[in-house]
Subunit: 116 residues, 4 copies
């Protein structure tokens, strides 16, 4: 997912701090879901126009940090479980494509909702 040199840096970061011991797959999955909630918090109580304005403000950096946190835990999880993320996404998209043929679901919110 991330550049390989950056992934190597993440791995070194936790090794240098002797923090691998905390990274069971279950605890990393917990952390990923907590970080996803913190990312969502950035949008909390905001309507579309307010979000657009915040994206142009100095609050953008905070959003980028939250997105980075999600990516970091996702990268640790894939690394630790030996999952090739590109491969996993490819396989999932093939299933999605078979399940949702464009001509049957185009622009339909109901189908989209079933999909997601």
């Amino acid at each position: 997912m991330l550049e390989s040199s950056l992934l190597a840096q993440l791995i070194a970061f936790r090794k240098d701090r002797d923090w691998e011991q905390f990274h069971t797959p279950k605890d990393v999955a917990i952390s990923l879901s907590i970080e996803a909630a913190e990312l969502l918090e950035w949008f909390q109580w905001r309507n579309h126009d307010e979000v657009e304005a915040m994206l142009e403000s100095d609050k953008r950096e905070h959003l980028e940090d939250e997105i980075a946190d999600v990516a970091v835990y996702l990268s640790y999880l894939c690394h630790d479980l030996g999952i090739d993320l590109n491969q996993a996404v490819k396989k999932k998209m093939e299933k999605n494509a078979a399940k949702y043929p464009p001509d049957k679901v185009k622009g339909r919110a109901d189908k989209y909702n079933e999909y997601s």
Copy 2:
């Protein structure tokens, strides 16, 4: 994050179905957090040994699918907001490195907990 050809495929997938209209940044962030919870659900009620056994079983594919779903929404969000994920992670890791010098936090769960 993903290979550029795969990201192009994701973008085409939603365009072919006329589904961009549903993808406001806030709704994509909601979806990311829902998918992270579905990923966590794979680990629900399982202890470490049970997780290890499931990783070797045919339940592994389900886990990979859930991880793929998280990656898909993360990719849409970064694409739509013009965020370079490698860049965002680099900046965040610099902050983390400054905040948690190895000699002060090594192997300490309390510091790790503050960190995360």
Copy 3:
């Protein structure tokens, strides 16, 4: 939180199935957050008008079921940890009232956002 006879029923439900063994506080907290995500899923991709329409439709029962699931895990957690929920909310509301005096925060989204 729930009527005491209903709470007794929840406790009997898991005892009759010998399921207390799975209910560590951490796993119940995981389940609570998963159920909260499933509740949120009901609202996923919907705008305000669509939500209002769904509330009047036969999809309302599904929402009530998801809300019930959240309440069930919250009730188990409070029961198992010996927490009086009314008491906990009272104490938290006192802190909130001290932190957010009406004359300083009235109608201000920015203060509201700091608050939540």
Copy 4:
């Protein structure tokens, strides 16, 4: 769910601050899921013994505050949607009881996992 006088206090709290305007059902559901993640954060990286020790420490109050936050948003949501939580839980438990007869699922983690 909460004592009726306490619920009245919650309703007054947001009215006094003119904050009802932010409380669409969807945004309250978002907040509920964020608070559930913050509750889960209390357990993050902790094993069972560490959780037990924290429950006896001065960190317990923080946990009670997070549980209160979940209950507050759950209460607002039920109030705003006119949902009787006891009634909703009763109906859900009837469905669960029909779906999981004790003699078929007793002590079985696999059935429990299907259940949750």
